[in-house]
């Protein structure tokens, strides 16, 4: 059998994983339930990358399906505001597997904690737009991220946001089908998940974006529940207790029957965000809408008048830069020169014995 095939140059080749030793580990960036992340340098090109070591110890059902989903989602979602996975490399044993990803200097959570003052309105707009663009692409490709939060948003020194950590992401279909409710970090979790809805969709990501929007404005997370009940309590306190009128189907949700929630008056978002423009408040209200069907979609949010009004979104290249914690940079304290000592200043007499 003879093979007559034109070899094209840009064709993807079949080849095994390369070795992790092609990268030089520099320092540890973070450790989470998913594994450890290192900062590393490509020995050939000198490029700085992030190496994420996968945790595979306790697997009874083979290679974790969540990691397969993560890789698949990252492959589908190629976008300037979604972190890029370059390749997957292996260590000396079969279970040491690393994702090689582009290195990004900051994560938004640490940045917000360390910043002396919150982002400017123009900066918030840029960040929110970038986040919405990335999420719109995900939703367009039938992917739900399911863990949007400030610590999963990376930020370059050039004012660009990258959505990261797709460990919980998965494809969904129509009809929706069964998906686990154990998703999204508590503080960013949508009310329908907290109330035990059987089916959910892309709207859960939009709720998280609403929480992130508020966090960008205030520098602190919007709802910081100590548990699921407390989380709901805090949401209701700010946005009012939902009813069948604002959220059709609310009373039929599994947990609304089991718990009795205090009745709070409708939203007092305005009191909380006094300096936000009307358009800004409208966008926040639409993101934090109880009924997932009425909640704004990423596509709609991108066209919201908030982004058209003054001040316009700041150009990413005009963003200030910060020292990067993950690459071990520290805030350099600048010692200003000491004032010249006047002649009449107190004379320091040296009593030490002359040498």
């Amino acid at each position: 059998m003879s093979q007559q095939r034109k070899a094209s140059t840009d064709q993807l080749r079949l080849a095994g994983c390369r070795s992790v030793h092609l990268y030089e580990r520099l320092n540890r960036i973070a450790e989470g339930s998913y594994g450890i992340v290192y900062r590393a340098r490509d020995r050939q090109t000198g490029q700085i990358v992030a190496l994420k070591r996968l945790k595979l110890d306790q697997e009874t059902q083979g290679f974790p399906i969540t990691t397969l989903r993560e890789i698949q989602a990252l492959l589908i979602a190629k976008h300037p505001h979604i972190v890029d996975v370059k390749e997957i490399v292996v260590g000396d044993t079969l279970t040491s597997i690393y994702l090689v990803m582009e290195y990004v200097e900051h994560d938004l959570k640490t940045l917000l904690e360390e910043m002396p003052s919150p982002f400017l309105q123009s900066e918030v707009k840029t960040l929110l737009l970038q986040l919405l663009q990335g999420v719109a692409l995900l939703h367009d490709h039938w992917i739900i991220h399911r863990d949007l939060k400030t610590s999963n948003l990376l930020m370059t020194n050039r004012g660009t946001i990258k959505i990261a950590d797709f460990g919980l992401a998965r494809k969904y279909g129509s009809p929706l089908g069964h998906m686990t409710q154990m998703v999204v970090t508590l503080w960013y979790r949508a009310p329908e998940l907290l109330l035990g809805a059987k089916e959910y969709s892309t709207a859960i990501d939009m709720w998280s974006i609403g929480c992130i929007f508020a966090e960008l404005l205030e520098k602190v997370p919007l709802f910081q529940g100590r548990g699921e009940i407390d989380q709901l309590h805090q949401i209701f306190k700010l946005l009012g207790t939902p009813s069948e009128r604002v959220w059709p189907g609310y009373s039929k949700l599994p947990h609304t029957q089991t718990f009795n929630f205090a009745v709070y008056p409708p939203s007092n978002l305005r009191q909380r965000f006094m300096h936000l423009t009307n358009h800004g408040l409208d966008l926040l209200t639409r993101l934090l809408t109880y009924d997932p069907k009425q909640r704004i979609t990423a596509e709609e949010a991108l066209n919201h008048p908030y982004f058209q009004e003054n001040p316009p979104p700041k150009d990413p290249s005009m963003f200030p830069t910060w020292p990067s914690k993950s690459s071990g940079e520290k805030v350099r304290l600048i010692h200003s020169p000491v004032l010249p000592q006047a002649d009449h200043a107190e004379v320091q007499v040296d009593f030490s014995p002359a040498s």
């Binding site: 059998m1 093979q3 007559q4 095939r5 070899a7 064709q11 993807l12 080749r13 079949l14 080849a15 095994g16 994983c17 390369r18 697997e59 009874t60 059902q61 083979g62 290679f63 399906i65 397969l68 890789i71 698949q72 492959l75 589908i76 996975v85 370059k86 390749e87 997957i88 292996v90 079969l94 279970t95 597997i97 998965r170 494809k171």
Partner: protein
């Protein structure tokens, strides 16, 4: 060159095609073809028993074909690899099956295909433990050797679109026939040699020939679908070669079976398949 990750199907280079690792390990080409064919047949059968969707079986078969162009049959047991392929494909296609179910079903289909006495596998037996261990390791090997390029683009959707373009969807035979050719082609190397548009076109080409159905030739219909005649004839030849000779029942599946099989082949062929198991 860094191994890139991509959603498009990786294809073989001419060198990979002419020198698969099993050939370097002195496995004769006809035997390798038979083993691939047999393993894919077992994956299909197991998938049906596990009530998996066809995409999962198809993905698994393509993964197996890919794997044995970067790894040798003598080194990686076909039995473990085919289980791992279906296991991994079931996860990739969001219809995961349990390890124990995969093992039991494969054990059953192998025994049935070899006309052996069918006895259920003991859950806590050494044999079960070894198969489980083999499967888990084979899955990691599969991912590692393929550089995590385990995404498979299949031509089924394209086939339907192409049939619609050609006005053939309501033809009494062609759609089903072409569909079946796509399924059968999974047992050959065509999914690692060509991209989905060419494979889908070839299936229509072959089906239309079988049914003696004339399709536009001026210009030729396949040019619209980025296919060319040489490729389609080549794919058709591969598909048709599947039907030429039935598979023998003594095809080796583990490395040990393969070793003793190859030893026996040096001597005149024995006619007792039962002692191979």
């Amino acid at each position: 060159m860094a191994t890139k990750l991509s959603l498009t199907n990786p294809l073989l280079t001419p060198e990979q095609w002419s020198q698969p690792p099993s050939r370097i390990a002195k496995v004769p080409a006809p035997l390798e073809t038979q083993i691939r064919h047999f393993a894919c047949e077992l994956i299909e059968a197991a998938g049906i028993l596990l009530s998996l969707p066809q995409v999962a079986m198809a993905t698994a078969q393509v993964l197996l074909q890919r794997f044995y162009y970067v790894a040798s049959i003598t080194q990686f047991s076909v039995r473990d690899t085919m289980m791992a392929c279906l296991f991994l494909a079931s996860k990739l296609e969001e219809c995961p099956r349990k390890v124990k179910d995969i093992i039991n079903v494969f054990d059953y289909v192998v025994k049935r295909r070899r006309n052996l006495l069918i006895t259920p596998l003991e859950m806590f037996s050494q044999a079960f433990y070894e198969m489980k261990n083999g499967l888990i390791i084979a899955e990691l090997q599969l991912l590692k050797q393929l550089g995590f390029n385990v995404q498979v683009q299949l031509p089924y959707g394209l086939l339907v679109t192409y049939l619609q373009c050609l006005g053939l969807v309501h033809h009494p035979q062609i759609p089903q026939l072409a569909w079946n050719y796509l399924n059968d082609a999974l047992r050959t190397c065509v999914y690692v040699c060509y991209q989905p548009p060419t494979i889908a076109s070839a299936a229509i080409f072959l089906a239309a020939r079988q049914c003696q159905c004339k399709l536009p030739t001026q210009p030729p219909w396949w040019t619209v679908f980025d296919a060319n005649l040489d490729d389609m004839i080549y794919i058709s030849g591969h598909i048709l070669s599947l039907y030429e000779t039935p598979l023998p029942t003594n095809i080796p599946l583990t490395c040990e079976e393969l070793e003793s099989y190859l030893e026996n082949v040096q001597a005149p062929l024995s006619n007792s398949p039962s002692d191979q198991v």
